[in-house]
Symmetry: C3
């Protein structure tokens, strides 16, 4: 594709240099050859660019690009992502149902939908236009998948799950498994509490490989519009995850947790209210490995376990590393006190 055409499709970005320069693919500055398009995030990456063989770049207006043809952009990273989608579009299976897939008679399949080998779709389910079920996916009964969704191999959507449009689910994720609910019976054993709710996943959500989203006991577990869940994340029954929130790998939220909008949970973090489900305010940032067990105000930034305000935690851990020295100083003060003249206790 001509660089000028790429620039046009990125919203008429200006091209510096030869707009007829043809790029055949995309690459990093490290790997890219003379036919590839790369990008420069900021002037900090200028040295990588200097030693790069790449043919053309998307770069901020002010950054020197060594004479290469360049698309100038105020947001090169976002524009590069879009250029990748143009120049290296993801493979899309041909529409239709593979002969080895097993689709219940009453299933409604949208136009252009594709169902892969070994996929199973239960009674009463529906799959929207252009959506893809990759091989060996299982949909139980009464599942709704919207339009333009991509459900990767091995994913399981249990009964009653509802997905909006443009939802992407990576391989091996499980939506709608039973919530973890048990009551002690008369003999002191755990008795299962039926989990008869479901999971609702709104538009534009992405769910990572191996991630598990449990169905609600009653009502719905809800993953809000635009939420991104990374791999191996656990969402307990009845949770509500607000729009545009992000939960990074191996994090989890306990049953009933309410996350606001635009919350960010970094990797290996967790929220589990100590005395009941926790409510996490909009825009909260929960650092990697932080553990939260109480409500948080909107805009909070917390670290550590138990989670503390960001600055307080950083200061506390700085002292933590020097605790042995602090102990020695206290001992020195005690020795010094013992040697000092003292008034007798009153």
């Amino acid at each position: 594709m001509r660089l000028g055409e790429v620039a046009a499709r990125l919203g008429n970005r200006p091209v510096q240099g030869d707009a007829d320069f043809t790029v055949t693919g995309v690459a990093s500055l490290e790997d890219g050859g003379p036919d590839a398009l790369g990008f420069v995030r900021s002037a900090r990456h200028a040295s990588a660019l200097a030693s790069s063989k790449i043919g053309a770049v998307i770069a901020p207006p002010e950054v020197e690009v060594g004479g290469r043809p360049a698309i100038r952009s105020p947001s090169p990273s976002l524009d590069f992502a879009r250029a990748v989608a143009l120049l290296a579009p993801p493979p899309h299976p041909a529409p239709g149902v593979h002969e080895s897939a097993r689709i219940a008679e009453d299933v409604v399949l949208g136009e252009g939908a594709a169902v892969g080998a070994g996929a199973v779709v239960g009674a009463g389910s529906a799959v929207g236009d252009r959506s893809v079920l990759h091989p060996n996916v299982t949909l139980y009964a009464d599942v709704r998948v919207g339009a333009d969704c991509v459900i990767h191999a091995g994913v399981v959507l249990r009964e009653g799950s509802v997905l909006g449009d443009r939802v992407v689910i990576q391989p091996g994720a499980v939506i709608g498994g039973d919530g973890f609910g048990f009551e002690i019976d008369e003999q002191g054993h755990w008795e299962k509490v039926p989990q008869i709710g479901n999971v609702v996943v709104e538009d534009d959500v992405e769910i990572g490989a191996g991630t598990t989203v449990d169905r609600a006991r009653l009502g719905s577990t809800r993953i809000g519009r635009g939420v991104k869940l990374d791999n191996l994340v656990q969402i307990g029954h009845g949770c509500q995850v607000g729009a545009d929130s992000v939960i990074v790998a191996q994090s989890g939220i306990a049953g009933g947790t309410v996350l606001g909008e635009r919350v960010i949970m970094m990797c290996q973090s967790g929220v589990a209210g100590a005395t009941g489900p926790a409510r996490i305010g909009d825009g909260t940032f929960i650092a990697a490995r932080a553990g939260v067990y109480r409500d948080l105000e909107p805009g909070s930034r917390v670290w550590g376990f138990p989670a503390l305000p960001e600055r307080r935690w950083h200061r506390a851990v700085a002292v933590f590393a020097k605790l042995p020295e602090l102990l020695r100083r206290v001992r020195a003060l005690e020795r010094q006190g013992a040697e000092s003249p003292r008034r007798p206790p009153r």
Copy 2:
């Protein structure tokens, strides 16, 4: 179903008000309409009840229910769980083997067992009466599944796995994967130690979505009667989990760990003995995100990493948050000491 019939089937609970009142389903107080049955855990939930549209409730004897017909129960939560099973029984696939399932010739299938589309059952395996294998389940050779089990889609039971009766396994769990055992060889590389043991899962166990239970190197990894494992839990090779223990999401126990009975491990916790497999006494409580690396006495309650007794940990973290202030106070004492008259060191 008539409220009186529900009450009778819950063990002849007393009905207050109209025993002929008909409930058509179950719901939470928030969502329930005039035909639904809900429950009130205690007087603390009275305000939710006041604003609820729900038709009837299960409630403790002393709690005011606003004139609704009510089943009076000393354990409303447990009775409600049982009412859900009566009024909204889980879907149960029709018995029989789907034509796309692949069952080895010598497999023994119990009466009323159901095997879903794409399921595979290896040679020498047996599935008990009324047990369900959902679609795309894989049983390797020589697997035993007891009666009344539910094995959800995508679950893998590797060779030699043994399940008791009434075992429920959520989608995507893996039972009997190789334990993680390697020895350094003569060239300094890791050489696999064959894992020829198996996994034994006793009666009434539930295993969560994406959870992994490794086979033993020799002998058996054992999940005791009534144990409940949540999602994304890791059980290392050769572990023994005592009856009625509960392990909440994203927790793990290292190879060889011995958990007693009625142990509770909250979410994202772990046990891994520092110098050999750890033994955790009966009735121990391990808090969320706690990390245990030594043996624990029965009835222990521990928090944090490294895990400390509950009270000690809570007190220590309270000071942790104020470490910068403590450091300032020590500095102030040091300044004060420097300014005080002192005897020369001897």
Copy 3:
């Protein structure tokens, strides 16, 4: 098999006692009967041996074995692992493609390869000699699997994944899921960054059940020769894991992390650079539950979060447990100071 033959195949180890003694299997000292071969790691296990019914053992030269025939070995644990492979070889499916597997027309299958029921192999893929795809495995398009690999049930290898020889993947693992990359768009929503790289897994790697290895945004995520990943491990996009490294269960490394060779990450640990991908030097040891957010020099040994050098961390946590006492001691010093004669501040 005669003990003498076992000894010969372990590299001509000397036999003490009856070399014609026949062993029919392998077992632990606890479980083994008179026909079984066991092993003794060191003199510390002598008491277990004293009460054992086992027929023969592999033991270090100096350890007393109670008159049993014994293979003497300087590395009994490694030799026992090899004896297990001799006496109890793992089941190997018969070569050939199951009639219910779905293999694209142009797939190249090596000699002796086995493809199980319900497995799906996409166009352009190749499976090497003697490699096994267990039931319900999914290979997308253009996947390369080397020779002598074992891919267990339910595993998903997404498009373009490349595996070397002798790679073992436990059930339910996902290789090549999209990396977790999003950019904020003009409306403040997350926009997906296409992940068009792949995953390369070198020779002799083992990957655990439920583990997820993400494809790179551009280029390759690389798992080096001989690496062992345990269950439920997360490898972010673009990571490089050096040869012979080991990552134990439920650990994770963030996108772009570079692990050196022979790194050991114990269970539930994590690496995520704070300001960019972290580089972890060769031979580093990261303790269980440690969280690393900066680069580490080769040979580092770290514990805790944020990770500290081993000795410093152990000393600091020892004081942590006594923080309430330390606080009391500071208070006592303050009271004492208040009661002491003091010079007025200058």
